[in-house]
């Protein structure tokens, strides 16, 4: 290895006779290696891109074209590209309504999770009361409880209460299952808020609620954003909960498009454009709030 040469100038001087040749060879090997590495990484990047490319191009071709030839042929025949599938999608009442349903379910549940989670985390970090640590342990435990556990009991409960199949029902379910993560993530952040900040407000005689609103929430914006992004995507992308708890009137996109799955071969154009429509918002959120998304993902498990 050439590292010792870098360590101190004296080594370089001593090895003047022997080192250059070895250095060249090493550099050559290094160059070849980095060339191979680059090739490998580009191949991997392509492997990751091609599937999405396929979906995009299928969604931009007519059903007949998709039946006749593979989506890759469109690269040679760009005239086949058309927005017809999307026009059909926009005119489709069911798709449009389910898109709106997705918004109606994910936005409120995100706001509620952030609000309720922040309140709980505030109490768990900045207030002292008996059983506090146990509640936190319970929250960490519930972090991994599978959603499946609640499907049967809650669908029965909703049936009894008459909220089965409503958007509200779906929202409440998502809020509940988002809370352990919310509390967990925000607690981690709140612990790091300098105590002086809160003490100063308390000296001024502020009540807890005021401190929470005026001091804690503003300084926690990055954490709140991470949580919001993550919760929003989680609810937006959900299929299982909606499959069980929503009705055709309140179904989000994932569930509404599901009925098209059965004739997969014949209607890839509809499915592909529908899937792309459902991906649009998450991808936008991903690219705009990338940092927050990554932070949120990092918080998914106790470290």
């Amino acid at each position: 290895m050439t590292t010792p040469a870098k360590k101190s100038p004296s080594v370089v001087e001593v090895s003047v006779t022997g080192a250059p040749r070895r250095g060249t060879a090493a550099r050559l090997v290094g160059a070849l290696g980095s060339g191979a590495l680059r090739l490998l990484l580009i191949t991997v990047a392509l492997l990751w891109m091609v599937p999405l490319m396929g979906l995009l191009l299928v969604s931009l071709r007519s059903g007949a074209d998709n039946t006749n030839s593979g989506w890759w042929t469109v690269l040679l025949k760009p005239t086949e590209l058309t927005l017809a599938n999307y026009q059909g999608l926009v005119q489709d009442g069911v798709v449009l309504r389910s898109f709106l349903n997705t918004v109606y379910i994910s936005v409120p549940s995100t706001v509620l999770v952030v609000g309720i989670g922040a309140m709980a985390a505030y109490a768990l970090v900045w207030l002292d009361f008996p059983g506090r640590d146990w509640i936190m342990v319970a929250v960490v435990g519930l972090l991994v409880l599978p959603v499946q556990a609640a499907l049967i009991p809650i669908s029965r409960l909703y049936g009894a209460l008459g909220v089965f199949g409503s958007i509200t029902g779906a929202i409440l379910f998502h809020v509940a299952f988002g809370l352990p993560f919310a509390v967990f993530l925000l607690r981690d952040f709140f612990v790091g808020i300098p105590r002086d900040l809160l003490e100063a407000a308390r000296m001024d005689g502020a009540r807890e609620w005021r401190i929470f609103r005026k001091v804690v929430l503003p300084v926690s914006r990055p954490a709140l954003a991470s949580l919001a992004v993550f919760q929003f995507l989680w609810v937006w992308n959900d299929m299982l909960v909606a499959l069980v708890l929503t009705s055709p009137d309140s179904a989000p996109l994932t569930v509404a498009l599901r009925s098209d799955l059965r004739q997969f071969g014949t209607n890839v154009d509809v499915l592909a454009s529908g899937a792309l429509l459902s991906m649009l918002v998450p991808l936008l959120v991903f690219f705009v709030f990338q940092r927050h998304f990554v932070q949120g993902a990092f918080a998914t498990s106790p470290r």
């Binding site: 709980a120 509640i135 972090l143 308390r202 929470f212």
Partner: protein
């Protein structure tokens, strides 16, 4: 990062104002209500419910659990979940480590990681459709099979006449050699006429030209001549070479003696062939199986045998970015001094990686692995979307089976609840792991 902010837990515990219950309850109440109603109560309910029958009216003890391990489809689901847990998280953690290390000194590492991370933002439903397309069996739609077919056809020419067959009076299917063998034996010097059917005239290769019966070879040549042609029924007599019938080019014709191929040739554009230097004695004419093999169409990825590996590969596509980003963050946190010290001591890069990097990353890798394992146990949408209806029983996992059993046709919420309990038991070790970690690291 919140961890960077100054905070001393011991210090802030000592002087924490004792405000006791009042405000604490108000702040906590909404969250606790939600957790109690939607998480704790259902978990307890599921345990109780799993002891009752489908309708929930009759107590059946552990019958549902017994049923769970005897019912074929449920057993398959449990087995598949086992495969997932054993293979998928380890695979993704490994790939994550490899890519994190490889991109460590690459300038466009961030772009690479973002690209890999992107699939995690989209729904499993959409990813499912993406991969249903990728692995479509039809090489005209599925990109994997399209690639396989073009690679395959680049190395072995696809056969010219799939589905073609000779008239039975002349040649019959050969069970030992494959292809077709003559019904009669011949001696050198004869002319052999081989009428074929089963190909549409339009499907003949372009260079095919009208066929004609060749002159017999000189008997001293030991050669056999003949013609292979497409025997069209419409105008002429079956089995007779009529005017306007076309030869079948590039057909492999062989002479077989005592079960061994002794001579081989291919037909010309007019369907004629000459088998030179045929050994004396009796032999039969054989049309090689290669002429008739169906074209290679790739693999049935979404069939019962391959569907689980295919599903795992799509999950790898979704989760690898998460592992890479996570592990890359851990790599940057490794103190440079530790690495340099090892290098100064003469360790090779591989040794540095094995003996320094990996041990220092260990705890982080474990966390990534555990997080991925939880994710795997909950997998539902992917299987639901990618596996075609007829294959869902072969591809099933516990989370999907639970839904099918409870909410599908003939819903049995007793068995469904038993499956939920099984899932909860499976996450129990992870729960314990997380809680222990949490308590240790945040005193």
């Amino acid at each position: 990062m919140p961890h960077d902010l100054p905070s001393d837990p011991a210090d802030h515990r000592a002087s924490r104002p004792r405000r006791v219950l009042g405000p604490a309850i108000l702040f906590l109440l909404p969250a606790l209500l939600f957790l109690a109603v939607f998480l704790l109560y259902p978990a307890a309910y599921s345990v109780v419910r799993s002891l009752y029958d489908a309708s929930g009216a009759r107590f059946v003890g552990f019958d549902n659990y017994a049923h769970m391990f005897t019912d074929d489809r449920t057993l398959t689901a449990i087995r598949n979940t086992g495969i997932w847990v054993l293979v998928a998280p380890a695979l993704v953690t490994g790939l994550g480590l490899v890519f994190a290390v490889l991109t460590e000194h690459v300038r466009w590492a961030t772009a690479f990681r973002v690209l890999l991370f992107m699939p995690m933002a989209i729904s499993l439903f959409a990813s499912g459709i993406v991969f249903r397309l990728v692995y479509d069996e039809n090489p005209g739609r599925g990109v994997v099979n399209a690639a396989m077919v073009s690679v395959h056809d680049a190395f072995s020419t696809p056969s010219e006449y799939p589905g073609a067959a000779p008239r039975e009076a002349f040649l019959l299917p050969d069970t030992t050699l494959g292809g077709f063998s003559g019904t009669h034996t011949h001696e050198p010097g004869r002319v052999v006429e081989l009428p074929m059917v089963g190909v549409r005239p339009d499907d003949l290769p372009e260079q095919a030209s009208p066929a004609s019966v060749p002159e017999p070879a000189d008997p001293f040549d030991n050669a056999v001549r003949g013609v292979v042609w497409l025997d069209v029924d419409l105008d002429g007599d079956p089995g007779v070479l009529d005017d306007g019938e076309y030869g079948m080019p590039r057909m492999t014709v062989q002479a077989v003696q005592d079960g061994r191929v002794v001579a081989s040739t291919t037909t010309g554009d007019d369907g004629r062939f000459t088998l030179p230097r045929t050994p004396p004695g009796e032999y039969t004419i054989h049309l090689a199986a290669d002429n008739f093999t169906e074209p290679f169409r790739g693999l049935t990825w979404l069939g019962p045998t391959l569907v689980t590996p295919v599903l795992i590969s799509s999950w790898v596509w979704i989760m690898t970015g998460f592992a890479v980003t996570f592990i890359a963050a851990g790599l940057t946190a490794i103190p440079r001094d530790a690495l340099e010290a090892a290098r100064v001591d003469g360790a090779t890069e591989w040794q540095v990686f094995r003996k320094v990097t990996i041990p220092l990353l260990g705890p982080l890798l474990l966390v990534v692995f555990v997080t991925l394992t939880i994710n795997v146990l909950k997998i539902f949408d992917l299987v639901f979307v990618i596996a075609p209806g007829s294959v869902q029983s072969d591809a099933g996992v516990i989370a999907l089976r639970m839904w099918q059993v409870s909410f599908g046709a003939g819903g049995d919420q007793g068995l469904g609840s038993a499956l939920v309990v099984l899932l909860m038991v499976l996450v129990l070790p992870i729960m314990y792991f997380n809680i222990r970690r949490f308590r240790r690291e945040r005193p």
